[in-house]
């Protein structure tokens, strides 16, 4: 580990991941109870990537995400109650109830409302990066996509333009192995998706996406290179989806050994073990963090449940500026 971390920084990583985990678990139940409408694509098992990357970003840097955006939203700082209200489709939600789970975001904290067309967020993020370059602002844009995103035309066109114009842009491929139910080996002949970077003449790196410190360090290098005028990078972060593609997916296409391995490789548990072994925390601190974050989540849930439903006619607002 070339980077040295303060205890506070390490605990922030841990609490960041733990908050997302607690949130996703709670949301999952709410959905199964029928309290949250629509569908859910959850981030369980992929928390280290969102937390590690966003920790390496400045407040005024910008991210875009796709249909699985919960972890990115929380890690970039979308306010928890506004996030929860959005999942319920209620007024005060971060998109005033017009977005829902797949479109969460808040431009005020540097997250463009999520774009649920696979890879379509990549050129959009590159466009934010273009604006930074044209306006000579020292800001960076990051696009999160998945292994399923790499076969899309938007992936290629966005990356190619970002590379040709040397934009302050980083593309994170969260390789959770499955594009919905299709294993990534059926979508590409490449063993490493980061090798795609060679096609654009930019750096590409495959990292352990379940190691929050490795994610942070690699992201930081890529982000600071972009900020310094060094152009874009592709980072492939290897991970695994610990839930279904959506909440109704029983995951019968995932081999049992593979799933068992993934549970053993849970990024949150791994990091907790590391913190315990290095005496940064003890069991009781870990538990008290959990209790504290659960209570924070619960408060957001209570607010959202109690909030008024949207006024139907308000659907007419916000079409045009």
């Amino acid at each position: 580990m070339s980077e040295t971390y303060s205890k506070q920084q390490l605990l922030e990583f841990f609490r960041g991941m733990l908050l997302i985990r607690k949130l996703e678990e709670r949301i999952g139940y709410l959905f199964l109870e029928g309290a949250i409408p629509g569908t859910l694509h959850q981030s369980l098992g992929q928390e280290a990537i969102a937390v590690g990357v966003c920790a390496a970003l400045n407040k005024d840097d910008v991210i875009t995400s796709g249909h699985r955006p919960h972890a990115h939203a929380i890690a970039k700082g979308v306010e928890l109650t506004a996030f929860m209200l959005e999942l319920f489709g209620k007024p005060g939600g971060c998109c005033e109830g017009r977005g829902g789970s797949m479109h969460v975001g808040d431009i005020r904290v540097g997250m463009i409302p999520s774009i649920a067309i696979v890879a379509a967020n990549i050129p959009v993020a590159a466009g934010a990066a273009l604006s930074f370059k044209l306006r000579k602002q020292p800001r960076v844009a990051v696009a999160f996509t998945g292994d399923g995103g790499v076969a899309e035309g938007a992936f290629h066109e966005g990356l190619n333009l970002a590379a040709v114009w040397n934009l302050p842009f980083v593309c994170i491929i969260e390789n959770n192995r499955y594009a919905a139910s299709t294993h990534y080996s059926r979508n590409t002949k490449l063993e490493k998706l980061s090798d795609l970077a060679k096609a654009y003449g930019i750096p590409g790196l495959t990292i352990d996406g379940n190691d929050v410190l490795q994610v942070y360090q690699s992201a930081k290098e890529a982000i600071e290179r972009a900020r310094g005028g060094g152009g874009p990078t592709i980072l492939e972060a290897m991970t695994y989806r610990l839930t279904g593609h959506n909440r109704r997916d029983p995951c019968n296409y995932m081999p049992e050994e593979e799933r068992d391995q993934a549970y053993a490789d849970d990024p949150l548990l791994r990091f907790q073990k590391f913190l315990l072994a290095s005496n940064y925390i003890d069991e009781s601190t870990a538990k008290s963090f959990g209790d504290e974050l659960e209570a924070i989540v619960e408060q957001a849930v209570e607010t959202a449940v109690a909030a008024d439903e949207a006024t139907p006619e308000d659907a007419m607002k916000h079409v045009f500026a």
Partner: protein, 340 residues
């Protein structure tokens, strides 16, 4: 003071004036500012290369890509203008136009705007089926997207400025036979759409139509090249004693219903003229709405004159057959009068 300008010159002036006024305005497109190049296929940005070096971005052939970049830059508050060489290429960027640009403000609950302009040359002009379509039908019914269709140089410049200053995505369709392009962009069958354009800054409001010619017997609604066809037909019909009112809505979304309704109350007969297949065109939407709202005033069913339901053919004789002409219009007007 005024200066005589073609549509392409008016657009060039408009782009230059807006880029000079606001450094956040910039253009992205294919071959738009290559030194020794053409200033775009229809030469609209020719001659601006040096003065606006930092505001004219030549892209790879990558419509989905640079349209997406425009959406992202617009979200951050810039005012990109993207163009396609031919409107038909818009399909390559359809997701960014319809799913991203048009919906982003709504999906954000009004917190994000996408102030971008899309310019697209359209119309059947001897280039076969893939450089020829009239694309309005695919875009005029997209909530969150404004659609403008200038038929004159004055309107082209004024609508362009309005579009650039608008906080919503606006798509501008430009007819290839109306540009007035010389040389590379010249097209057979071109129609003069030039105007005396004032030197001072002006805009044409989006969503406001104009009466091109007053009349009392029949209202014809037409945009772009078809507006000129309607004017020719109206002249011919006048000689036959028929008084035609020609309305150029100039915008398809939002649509100037008030202007059209006022006219139809007076004439009691309406015809919508559209280049492009009749089935599924914008003329059907206008006709249906008039039938719904204006039944008590109408003395004849609303007529549509449009192209047959086929791709645009290459052969000049077939293309002539495809594009509605003056005779199609006069015949339709005469049939409307049969009901009286």
């Amino acid at each position: 003071m005024t200066q005589r300008r073609t549509i392409l010159q008016a657009l060039r002036d408009g782009l230059a004036e807006e880029m000079a006024r606001d450094p956040d305005v910039f253009c992205m497109g294919e071959d738009i500012s290559i030194a020794g190049g053409w200033g775009g296929v229809f030469t609209v940005t020719l001659g601006l290369e040096e003065r606006f070096r930092g505001q004219l971005l030549d892209t790879p052939i990558s419509e989905l890509g640079y349209f997406g970049l425009a959406v992202g830059a617009a979200i951050m508050g810039m005012r990109p203008i993207v163009d396609v060489q031919y409107g038909d290429f818009l399909f390559l960027a359809m997701d960014q136009v319809v799913n991203q640009a048009a919906k982003m403000r709504y999906m954000s609950g009004g917190k994000v705007n996408v102030p971008m302009v899309i310019r697209a040359p359209i119309g059947a002009t001897g280039r076969g089926a893939q450089h020829a379509q009239s694309l309005e039908r695919f875009f005029f019914g997209v909530p969150g997207l404004k659609v403008v269709c200038p038929s004159t140089a004055y309107d082209a410049k004024g609508l362009l400025k309005s579009a650039i200053r608008d906080n919503n995505p606006v798509i501008m369709f430009e007819h290839k036979l109306l540009y007035g392009s010389k040389g590379l962009g010249q097209a057979t069958g071109a129609v003069d759409a030039s105007d005396d354009i004032p030197d001072e800054d002006y805009t044409v409001p989006i969503g406001k139509g104009v009466i091109r010619r007053e009349g009392t017997d029949v209202t014809i609604i037409a945009t772009l090249l078809m507006m000129h066809v309607a004017m020719n037909a109206a002249e011919e019909l006048e000689a036959a004693g028929v008084s035609v009112e020609v309305i150029d809505p100039r915008s398809l979304n939002p649509f100037d219903w008030a202007l059209v309704e006022e006219s139809v109350k007076k004439t009691t007969r309406a015809m919508v003229l559209e280049e492009g297949p009749k089935f599924g065109g914008w003329s059907g939407e206008i006709a249906a709405t008039l039938a719904e709202k204006m039944a008590e005033y109408l003395t004849a069913p609303v007529q549509r004159v449009a192209s047959p339901d086929i791709p645009v053919p290459f052969s000049p004789t077939m293309e002539q057959y495809y594009r509605p002409g003056r005779q199609d219009v006069t015949q339709a007007v005469m049939s409307l009068l049969q009901y009286a």
